[in-house]
């Protein structure tokens, strides 16, 4: 008698196509319903879309490591396009020291000293935007402006040249996908952006007391090597801006389309943190990351073969009805705890507390001054191979009386 393993369902849609990037929810629904593991024929990789399996794979660094890259390229066979991240694209044991250095620098306790200052900055920004409005693009004036105002200062990089940060991050997140038109579009200007970003990671560029200087201080203590320090700083500049921008954009778009939720937040400003995490669940600014199967791994009865890349759909997991009631609804009554929008396990976003503080500062300032965030035109999606966000989000800010 012979037994055969159940056939792995095949999906022929390209998840990086403009159609799916415009609205990934139908594709993700099909992915979840097809089975725990699906073969994506267009790229000859495997995929997971259900919460249970995505979460389990994210924490299982032993069997689903990141060291072969967290993009489509399989570094067992291909050369990385830039020196790998010591955090995102590194496994234990090499991952340990950089993570151990960065985590306390970005912990809620360490961020307390920034809180008051960021709240003041947010108030100032909201005043400026209200003075310029009532109709504004919430992406450029708020979601981009606020992180660009406070985060690079906290890292300690100079003011000149910060316009490189967003296009650098955008290309980086495109580069996790296939070499499609999005990657081709960013390639010509990449050297100047990357050159500027890399130059900011040197010790002498970084202001005293900032995150960057603290990373270098850890190198002086021998907790990481002097060769690692600039790469750890680079991680902050790579992963700390675009992601937060799209997280804030998700929150603002949710509030524009759900006025009753905005009213709730205004009535109960303590919900700002929940609102941000619910937006991160609902929109999942980071949609996907790849892992590699280090051995044959059985997932829900189907086997991901050793040495093959597997695409984990964080956004799909965050919309899995097996885990979430009415997952497509943005709802401040929901407890979004446990979403995988920041990942999970030892690679979980080390900057998540920074993002939450930025969001809390901005939402609290807006809630105090703005009665209503009303849509004022057709919003436009920003396409990126990894991130989901808005290019433009026209809104009318109705000031509170």
């Amino acid at each position: 008698m012979t037994t055969t393993a159940p056939a792995i369902p095949v999906n022929h849609v390209d998840p990086f196509s403009p159609e799916v990037l415009e609205d990934p929810l139908p594709f993700q629904h099909a992915l979840r319903e097809a089975g725990p593991v699906v073969h994506l024929a267009q790229h000859d990789v495997y995929a997971m879309g259900r919460y249970e399996h995505v979460r389990a794979a994210l924490v299982d660094w032993q069997r689903f490591p990141s060291g072969a890259g967290v993009g489509l390229a399989n570094w067992r066979y291909e050369k990385p396009w830039r020196p790998p991240s010591l955090l995102l694209e590194t496994d234990p044991p090499h991952h340990d020291a950089p993570r151990a250095v960065l985590a306390p620098i970005l912990s809620p306790r360490a961020l307390r000293r920034l809180r008051e200052q960021w709240c003041t900055e947010a108030e100032t920004l909201v005043d400026e935007v209200l003075a310029s409005g009532p109709e504004v693009d919430a992406m450029s004036t708020l979601a981009e402006a606020f992180p660009l105002r406070v985060f690079p200062d906290a890292v300690g990089i100079p003011r000149e040249g910060r316009e490189h940060l967003l296009p650098y991050g955008d290309h980086l997140f495109n580069a996790f996908g296939p070499e499609n038109a999005l990657v081709a579009k960013g390639a010509p200007t990449l050297p100047e952006h990357a050159g500027w970003v890399n130059a900011q990671c040197a010790r002498d560029r970084l202001a005293e007391g900032g995150f960057g200087a603290q990373i270098w201080a850890a190198a002086d203590r021998g907790d990481i090597t002097p060769e690692q320090a600039p790469l750890v700083v680079r991680s902050l500049l790579s992963a700390g801006v675009d992601t937060t921008v799209h997280g804030l954009g998700a929150c603002l778009s949710a509030m524009a389309t759900h006025p009753e939720q905005w009213a709730r937040l205004r009535a109960q400003p303590g919900l700002a943190r929940v609102a941000f995490d619910e937006a991160v669940r609902w929109e999942s600014p980071v949609q996907t990351f790849f892992r590699i199967a280090d051995v044959d791994v059985s997932v829900g009865g189907t086997v991901v073969p050793e040495g093959r890349k597997i695409l984990m759909f964080l956004g799909s997991a965050n919309h899995d009805p097996r885990r979430w009631d009415a997952p497509d609804v943005f709802d401040l009554d929901r407890d979004p705890s446990g979403h995988v929008g920041f990942g999970m396990g030892l690679h979980q976003c080390v900057g998540q507390h920074v993002a939450r503080l930025e969001a809390e500062a901005l939402l609290t300032a807006l809630a105090r001054r703005v009665e209503r965030i009303a849509p004022a035109g057709t919003p436009r999606r920003h396409h990126n191979n990894t991130m989901r966000g808005w290019e433009s989000l026209p809104v009318r800010l109705v000031p509170a009386v």
Binding site: V59, D60, W61, Q62, P92, P93, H94, D96, A97, A100, A103, P104, S107, P108, R109, R221, G222, D223, I224, T225, Q228, G270, L271, R273, V274, D277, D335, P336, S337, G338, H339, F342, M344, G345, L346, Q348, Q352, H353
Partner: protein
């Protein structure tokens, strides 16, 4: 509570007066991640809490291994482990935490005295794995009292086993004097050994000698295995936390808004300000001085030493 209980799945002698325990979740689930140098707090059925270095394989996500020395002059915890604790028994645990983290280096010198070998075992494994140049100088009273000597044999002449009754005290001055400046020295063992290592390394660059001293934690009150009350200052209500439940779940049940993520005391998302009472910290995040401050806690795993906690929730 279930999530902080581990079951003893194996108990084996590792040397005279040393046993190893292999611990697992009762349901066989994944345990919190750790790195070499980490320890866990183990609360025995007697209520005594002790810290033990993890000395197993971190690539095995489902078991922890610890080594326990019988300490005749101790407070009874090790005697209980040796004489009473059996496979199938449950212990409570907190952590893992790491105050002895391994830093990157091309060269390591590991110096162990007796049971101090335990945190160094996973370090040695990793140093070997990454191709670092390393040596182990391992002392003990006599060969029969030294655990894991058999396990270390596979590393050949990188391992130098020096029982005191055959070789006298460890030649620290010579070994640390000969070490290159870029060698990081990890030393764990009894206080006189650590003191001697510090003297022998006085000439070396700072931070190149890393030691771990275990000191009995001074808790404000005994860790309790009984219900306690949590007053939620913002929510304006009080809730009872039962031994089998978490503070986080109890708070949510009565409508508190409490964001969390990993629910293992690792990610830090649920950090909560403590307004009154003494938290029983079981997270992997806070350093000793932060624990002692008692002004914040992680309600997904941490509990209470006092009858009542007041939280900013």
């Amino acid at each position: 509570m279930e999530s902080d209980r581990l079951v003893v799945v194996a108990k084996e002698p590792a040397a005279d007066d040393v046993v190893t325990l292999v611990l697992a979740r009762p349901d066989g689930g994944r345990l919190p991640d750790w790195a070499p140098g980490a320890h866990i707090d183990v609360t025995l059925p007697t209520g005594a809490t002790r810290q033990y270095s993890l000395c197993g394989d971190r690539w095995d996500a489902h078991t922890y291994r610890i080594g326990v020395l019988r300490e005749p002059a101790g407070r009874g915890g090790s005697a209980y482990v040796h004489d009473e604790l059996d496979t199938g028994d449950l212990v409570a645990f907190g952590g893992p935490r790491n105050d002895f983290a391994m830093v990157p280096s091309p060269r390591y010198l590991f110096v162990a005295g007796g049971i101090g070998i335990t945190p160094l075992l996973p370090m040695i494994h990793q140093a070997d794995l990454v191709g670092a140049d390393w040596s182990l100088l391992y002392g003990g009273r006599r060969r029969g009292s030294m655990a894991f000597v058999g396990e270390l044999a596979r590393y050949g002449d990188r391992v130098h086993v020096r029982p005191e009754d055959e070789h006298g005290l460890l030649p620290l001055a010579a070994w640390l004097g000969d070490a290159d400046d870029d060698t990081v020295v990890y030393c764990c063992g009894p206080a006189p050994l650590l003191d001697a290592a510090e003297r022998a390394a006085a000439h070396r660059p700072r931070h190149r000698l890393r030691t771990e001293r275990f000191t009995a934690p001074e808790l404000g009150a005994p860790v309790r295995d009984a219900p306690f009350e949590v007053e939620l200052a913002r929510t304006g209500t009080t809730v009872t936390v039962l031994p089998q439940g978490t503070v986080l779940d109890a708070a949510r049940r009565v409508g508190a808004t409490a964001l969390s993520s990993c629910e293992q005391g690792l990610c830090g998302t649920c950090e909560t300000t403590v307004l009154a009472g003494v938290p029983d910290h079981r997270d992997s995040i806070l350093a000793d001085h932060e624990r002692a401050a008692g002004d914040c806690m992680f309600p997904c795993v941490s509990r209470s030493c006092t009858d009542r906690l007041v939280l900013d929730l």
